[in-house]
């Protein structure tokens, strides 16, 4: 009897099991082969994002991390000297799913820049609060893209702020200090709250962060 016309319950089950096992083996093999390359690619992407936030560093900040209250701090140094700290934090209070942010701090606690690295907000509304993109039109199509971080009216408000300076980390609608975007209040609120949380944690634990990330023996985590 040919396998193609087989109707035996056990044979069919065994065949399906064998196919599943084979595919699991293939996946395990490919996964094992690509895991180091994927980790390297992730690190390169993160380091490229950090380079937009903190001006000059020559170490690998993703390897010198410290986690406090759900915020991951990364040390960026140049020639061994601390030039900035990047904080990675996330919130679920966005309009759709998780919003993840990278906040660049100068050593004195001032925010250098804010970058949203992961979000699923509504295109045209919430996305406009999160996206940093140079606008391309037919009139500047052949001009080379400007250097530096593209502007974003909501995210740029945080630059230069510091948690110690009596900043109210809420949007203006709730009585805070920051403008929000009409039609995207929930996203603006989430981004503001998230940045505020990162800044407050940084301000509250600044001595510890400085000591651990700036010390002679930085805590190295892979």
């Amino acid at each position: 009897m040919k396998l193609r016309d087989c109707e035996n319950f056990w044979v069919l089950g065994a065949f399906l099991g064998a196919v599943g096992l084979l595919s699991a083996l293939v996946l395990a093999l490919v996964s094992a082969l690509t895991a180091p390359a994927i980790a390297r690619a992730d690190q390169r992407a993160k380091s490229a994002a950090l380079r937009q936030l903190i001006p000059d560093f020559d170490n690998d900040p993703a390897r010198e991390t410290l986690r406090i209250d759900g915020v991951t701090f990364m040390a960026a140094r140049r020639g061994g000297k601390l030039v900035g700290v990047a904080a990675e934090a996330e919130t679920n209070s966005g309009y759709a799913g998780t919003i993840r942010e990278l906040v660049g701090f100068a050593p004195d606690g001032r925010i250098l820049a804010v970058l949203v690295t992961d979000e699923k907000e509504t295109p045209g509304l919430g996305k406009n609060v999160c996206e940093r993109k140079f606008k391309k039109t037919i009139f500047n199509f052949f001009r080379p893209a400007p250097r530096g971080l593209p502007p974003n009216p909501v995210l740029d408000q945080f630059t230069g702020r510091r948690a110690g300076d009596r900043v109210d980390w809420r949007v203006r609608k709730d009585g805070g200090d920051f403008e929000y975007r009409t039609g995207a209040t929930v996203t603006s609120r989430a981004v503001t709250e998230l940045t505020g949380r990162a800044a407050k944690v940084f301000a509250a634990h600044r001595a510890r962060i400085m000591a651990e990330l700036n010390g002679a023996k930085p805590e190295v985590k892979r």
Partner: protein, 226 residues
Amino acid sequence: MNKYFGDVVRGIWKENPVLVLLLGTCPTLALTTSASNGVGMGMATTFVLVGSNLVVSLIAGIVPKKIRIPVYIVVIATFVTVVDMLMKAYAPPALYAALGIFIPLIVVNCIVLGRAEAFASKNGPLRSICDGLGMGLGFTLTLTMLGMLREFLSSGAVFGVKVITVWETDFLLPAAAPGAFIIVGVILGVRNHLRRRAAIRAGKLYVPPSEIDCGNCHICANGKDK
């Protein structure tokens, strides 16, 4: 050679997966908010289609008929996951950023399973590859067209380049899901009209596909208004 060429061309117009077979409507409606998204999804799907068609046409002879669908799904899912991992590891970051989010979604795309079941399991490897390529190209072209249309209507841009710079604000309807339904509906209507007119001109009755229940519908009326 002609046969293979016919397999490729058929997917682009005569059996276009989106506009004629109406398969893969979910990614079509959800992802074509911009032209570059359409190109990305189309390319990723084409790649998986060619690969899964090849594998399915090779194993179709030994797979028991009763469990062929689950086996094909396992093959497709494995293929998609492998492609995803390989791209994550070795593709340039810009390419993965553009295509990466679409790749896991291909598993649930009916076109891939549909072609595995309807074509690849009954034909040889070479013809199956041609069919996958044609279907993929048809899918890519339709998605790109739809993406360009929606992007232009919502923000006056084509491939991210603003053509109309008078208004700063975006028009949200075409970019949202309801707008996608409306635009796809209009395109389908135009296509059906063209087919019907061509059929009447050729002196033939337009015969709607048998799987559509035409009992209560009088839109085409089988050439009555000639």
